[in-house]
Amino acid sequence: MKPYLAIFNLRMINGLQYRIAALAGVATQFVWGFMYIMIYEAFYHGFTGTQTISLEQLATYIWLQQAFFFFVLLWLKDNEIFDSITSGSIAYELCRPCGIYGFWFAKLIAHRLSGTLLRCMPILVIGFFLPIPYRLSLPPNFLTFILFLVTLLLGLIVVISLSMIVYVSVFVTMSPIGSFLIFSVVGEFFSGLMMPVPLMPIWLQNIVYILPFRLSGDLPFRVYSGNISTNDAIIGILTQILWIIGLIALGKVLLTKMLKRVVVQGG
């Protein structure tokens, strides 16, 4: 475990260096957040049907998505890993006295965590002080807040174990960009980043609930905004754990299979 923690620390420190980039990211996130809320406000205006999520809850949902963007975004790739596979420098990594799965896993978690730490605070703080339809509200009670934190962290692990499978697939395709683009576009749709899951038609929601993507981008934020009850949240946590076990097992099996076949050329 120790070498993985060391990698994690190293990557954290490294990631925290990019403050200016993070600031630009925060500005982008703000514009996006405002834009989405404004669009939904216009949709809600003059709408008389039953609401599956109130506008205030929706605003909270959107701000949290923006604040924890680095936790949920699938289009976030570690080019070093891609390069090491395509260029063959993976040979060095295989020489290291620690498992490559854990090595990459620690690296990816640190990348996302450092990115989020730099970005989330300004969005959360300003979000709390915005005027009403735009405000990021507090969670209904302390228990939901705890549940939110648990689902958020488990969601992060789901995202990473999912993307590990994509990284492993590069061993086959050798050119990551195209397949990665399709994976992230489709995945982000099913995780509720393009449109909030509660606003989707029922048949689509049923598909979304089967897939693992919403466990990171949708579940934690709906738990926080009070759109999901405590019971459902606990069921959600169990689903997350099951998916994590399944995805990590699958990723490890695929990786060992690929590594058996791997041929590194040249010296």
Partner: protein, 260 residues
Amino acid sequence: MKLYLRYLEILFKSQLQYRASFILMTIGQFFVPLVMFASIYFLFEKFGQIEGWSFFEVALCFSIVHMSFAISVCFMRGFDSFSKLVVNAGFDRLLVRPRNTIVQVLGSNFEFTRLGRLIQSTMVLIWALLNISIEWNAFKVATLIFMLIGGIFIFSGIFILGASLCFFTVQGLELINIFTDGSREISQYPLSIYKDWVKNFFTFIVPLGIINYIPLMYLLGRGPYNDILSMLTPLIGIVFIIPCLYVWKFGVSKYLSAGS
């Protein structure tokens, strides 16, 4: 012009070298706006309308904005990734050649894979037009074409402006994405659904309102404005590129090489 075509030919060949990746990338680019469009469709399924606009009217707006964005990003990719040229001082090489810098930067990259985007939005356009009853006449056809042209110029102007900033900051700024992607996202809905300050910003500063709102009202026969005037407003978009080119020129004159 001949030079530019030659550039394109070479770029096209080089991008086709990785055929599988090229195809997957084009398909991926087809999916990006498709997923956005799907979410708009589902939102309308739930809400029915947005501030009095129906689904197909918004689809029309969406397709025009995305078509002009796709075309402009194809051509302007060199400007979009311009920070690389500045950081590795590749721009020095362009400066010593006896040709216009703009043609060379334009020719430095061309994204053929973005055609996937164009195909998707063209399909949306056709679908929307089949479902809206517009009393067509020559003016309206011209308006539609002018909207596209105006849009292409406005987005291109934003790309050039973003690239010009690299002269001063050296590093590429993620901030410029707010203006490129952000204005695309915002203008895929008719501007009238937004708050006034957003409307004003996108009418007077980045003039997307003149391609997405005024002519759209005219096409749908709702505009309070004069026919000829509404038809010609999108062309103001072409004027937008002039100050952008001046900023570019100014940037080139202030350019300090990053060395090596």
